[in-house]
Symmetry: none
Subunit: 269 residues, 2 copies
């Protein structure tokens, strides 16, 4: 994905920033420093900023800085602890992103539901942690017992090894939607095909000229004009034409009418 | 995220696999081969498997293989084209993941709604493409004009540069939720504008005749034809023309061309 995704909009609102201040992403025993950098970039793109590292194997590290791209501020402000217990000591809600586990009985949430819970808790003033385990072995039993629930990304059962930063990206994305209040709405469902479409009434002039033009170029050849016009109306109403498009199409019709006049004059003459 | 996410569950069901076979992830002009590998891993974890590469700068490449981890089968089966037009020629729905753009008027969908649309189309038997542009510069205008809608990940306005593979991961995740029936329920509401729309390639003949007609009726009057044709392409691609509509419109063009010939004959005579 390239450059600014929405350059025109300013910065996030207090409604987003407030709860975001109480959301922390916790990486436990991360093996590859590059993953710490990628995770930092992932959370920053989603408007989060609190990264907590528990006993990282190599940090700080050049690979972490390289992968963080513009998110090095997240790395430099990352809190660091020796144990997960210390990292989440002040949290009201701790969610562990992990494989389904029979080792420890934990309620399992989908990322979307986890994000909704995290947002609700953070909006109510509680500290919330989303915890990600080691690349290979995940979270150990003792760590899982610190979690109020497990979060499970519904991956392909035949190939479920999400990269650590990819998992952080998915959860951070769901957190962002929750922060933006877009958790489960479907606004685009009712969005018009063309937001700049002219009102229906303004199409009538165009349809009138279209009908005249079809006559002029002898399109119907004896057939009833209604059926073709009905299909064309449906087509252009569905499209949602804007002012410029109506002008463009009417310009084309005008030239077709002109040609028909010239041709007619010839036949007459 | 580590090891098997849900070891107990078997493989995906036909309900997931069927539509997934009609969903392709298209990467255009990717600069870093590592991103191609990471994207392959991302789509495989989400149960997708069709990767299409348009003019990659370096591929095949050791970095791609390294980042693909266990997803090298996705890379070895990746289709390859010189242009996006060829890569989506048989698609009924083409969604471009891009920055908000004022350059080209495109309906903008959120990832969740885009996934619902893509799933609805694929479940109905249509070929669907999700298109990702170059790391820095994204998709150019000509490429955007091949898209029925733009997909926008609502990133942090102050730091919106998602890594390419991260963007692929987010969209693939939403596609997976839609395939699993856990996405938005609004899929019907945002199904393609015209479910019976012909594939892209079949529009080309119409666009060709439209361009000829504009010349014949002297619509351009010295102006460069490109701008008008670009607007008209956008309009009709957005509309989603079906077979009957293409025939109807081409019939109208044929009569306009006939009139122009008669008129020309007159001027000549």
């Amino acid at each position: 994905m390239q450059a600014p995704l929405n350059p025109e909009s300013g910065t996030d609102t207090a409604a987003v920033v407030g709860p975001a201040n109480r959301l922390r992403i916790v990486l436990v025993g991360t093996q590859h420093p590059g993953n710490i950098g990628s995770a930092a970039r992932a959370i920053k793109t989603m408007g989060l900023h609190r990264l907590v590292l528990v006993a990282p194997q190599k940090f700080p590290h050049a690979e972490a800085d390289a992968m963080a791209a513009g998110a090095d501020d997240i790395l430099s402000h990352a809190a660091r602890f020796d144990t997960l217990a210390e990292a989440v000591a002040d949290c009201r809600l701790v969610l562990g992103c992990t494989a389904r586990s029979r080792r420890v009985q934990l309620r399992e949430l989908r990322p979307r539901d986890a994000a909704a819970s995290a947002h609700a808790e953070a909006a109510a003033g509680g500290e919330v942690a989303l915890v990600f385990g080691r690349e290979r072995t995940g979270l150990d039993n003792e760590e899982l017992q610190l979690c109020h629930a497990a979060v499970h990304i519904p991956a392909n059962p035949d190939y479920s090894s999400l990269n650590l930063a990819a998992a952080v990206q998915v959860l951070s994305y769901e957190l962002r939607l929750a922060l933006l209040g877009e958790g489960d709405t479907a606004s685009a469902a009712i969005a018009p095909v063309n937001p700049a479409a002219v009102p229906h009434a303004e199409l009538e002039g165009f349809f009138g000229q279209l009908a005249e033009t079809l006559d002029a170029i002898d399109f119907h050849k004896g057939r009833a004009p209604e059926s073709a016009m009905r299909k064309l109306r449906r087509l252009f109403v569905r499209t949602g034409l804007d002012e410029k498009e109506v002008r463009l199409l009417r310009g084309i019709l005008a030239d077709a009418q002109r040609m028909a006049r010239l041709a007619g004059a010839r036949n007459a003459g």
